[in-house]
Symmetry: C2
Subunit: 326 residues, 2 copies
Amino acid sequence: MLTPLSQIAEALRSARSVAIAAHVRPDGDAVGSVMGLALSLQAAGKTVYALLEDGVPSNLTFLPEVATILTPPYADFEIDVAVALDTATHERLGEKTKAALARAPLLIDIDHHPANPGYGQLNHVDGVQPAVGQIVYELLKAGDFPLTDAVLQHLYTAIITDTGSFQFSSTTARTHEIVAEMLKAGLDTARLARLIYQTQPVRRLQLLRAMLNEMDIRSEGRIASWKFTRRLMDEVQVQSGDTEGLIDTLRMIDSVVAAVIFEEMPDGKIRVSSRSKDERLDVSAVCAQFGGGGHRMAAGARMRGPIEAATETFLTALEHEVRRLA
Amino acid sequence: MLTPLSQIAEALRSARSVAIAAHVRPDGDAVGSVMGLALSLQAAGKTVYALLEDGVPSNLTFLPEVATILTPPYADFEIDVAVALDTATHERLGEKTKAALARAPLLIDIDHHPANPGYGQLNHVDGVQPAVGQIVYELLKAGDFPLTDAVLQHLYTAIITDTGSFQFSSTTARTHEIVAEMLKAGLDTARLARLIYQTQPVRRLQLLRAMLNEMDIRSEGRIASWKFTRRLMDEVQVQSGDTEGLIDTLRMIDSVVAAVIFEEMPDGKIRVSSRSKDERLDVSAVCAQFGGGGHRMAAGARMRGPIEAATETFLTALEHEVRRLA
Ligand SMILES: [Mn+2]
Ligand SMILES: [Mn+2]
């Protein structure tokens, strides 16, 4: 499962045309690692296709060359090598993207989700790395591929977003060393941080305000939750990326051990996102009761609507677990 | 003004008892650099007094040994050397603290505010450093003073808070190299980040909610401001540190070029805090019209109440400047 990066670099070196993709509903690590690798291979003279089933979220459109990212339906291009990044299962690429990557005789799977089964012919799954952007950086160095400013912009974005601005416990000494190298190469990291974190559409603050006004706090302050309704989505005219990080604000409350957001989907299903702040509380076990899953500290599920009923059902199960803590 | 750190280390090495202080209304850099230096010198066998005119803000009480920090009235201790950290002017130490430091024949002034005139006998004012905590780290290395885990906790806190979690343009490659060294030394940086950023009293979210509900946006979205009233302070039972960073949320709005918070003080005065997001807009010039000052991008003033009148007067002057931009 840990094919050396030098061997993967070799395979990329000998490829002529490469398709690179990441998971549906892409985040900063997905977009940044795909485009970081794509722009470097392109600078190395290869024909490169960057594919994202759901396109680029609105909060990341400032990044270089993201307008070149392809979305379905895909044209009939031919490729020697396909690369899946930051995507824990083959299906999470999205149906059309998975099919497009299958045109290549070689699939390379590079990821940091420990549960990734290694669905490629070459697999580099390293659960210790905080971001796939960090793995791609090491890959490009191992293969002596170009680290242009645009490449570094993408890889920095991948790293800062997946480490929560270097705050998560996944952050390593090497993470900081890499950013030091990027700064020495002249990368304007402050500009990127400003565009990522300090440039929010008014919609974001409207959502945050609604959440703070409507949030439910129960179990002696240990559970904070919020129902994100379609009514509000329409009112605010929500775009992809707008809800990024909202749940972290709920989790911030000192007394809280579990934060949950219930989101009304277009199909009437309720998407549940949950976070734990106490190692002893396994939110994935609660989500599993409703057919979902994830990690101990971050998990999700999809439930049948209406949102009020789903919320009470889920919170009752969660309260049961939370009561066992103290 | 840039006495070498090796020479300052020498002076500290030969001291027997040292008093260390920082500015009134201390922030993470003030508390962290004072206690980082204090705990290291203490571990090196010196008698050390850490002084803060206003004590430790409520959001930083989790840091090691902060209960040993002295506040006025100060006892009659004797000292060989006094150190002022992160304090742009002698007066900003606070009256009592300035007097206590004056007992030493030698005052060392270490700071990163460019306007610091160098009011010590030894001065190390380096405006390029993102945090005095970073200078203290280099000082302790230069002098081979102990870098215990408690010392690193304080210096990391100083650095992460003064760099906005490594996002501000003041962050250097060396900043990241230092954090890499701290991680290699075994420091649990994620725990500290969690305690600093992800552990907020409900009061904080109540203030944020009030601000989002009450904020005023004018000049085609380019000015966002908020009146922080005594009524709300009493209602929420605000503590020191609770308002830290609130203005950054106003500044985040994409259209905003100037963010302002007007705060009712106990004496009836109005404390104005302003931030610019456009290099061409100098908020210190606007504050200067009301007897205040600061930097181009961050400045403040005190105005006569009532808050409504002060707000309109200030915003009218600010709007005048903002209109000149476009
Ligand atoms: Mn990732
Ligand atoms: Mn400072």
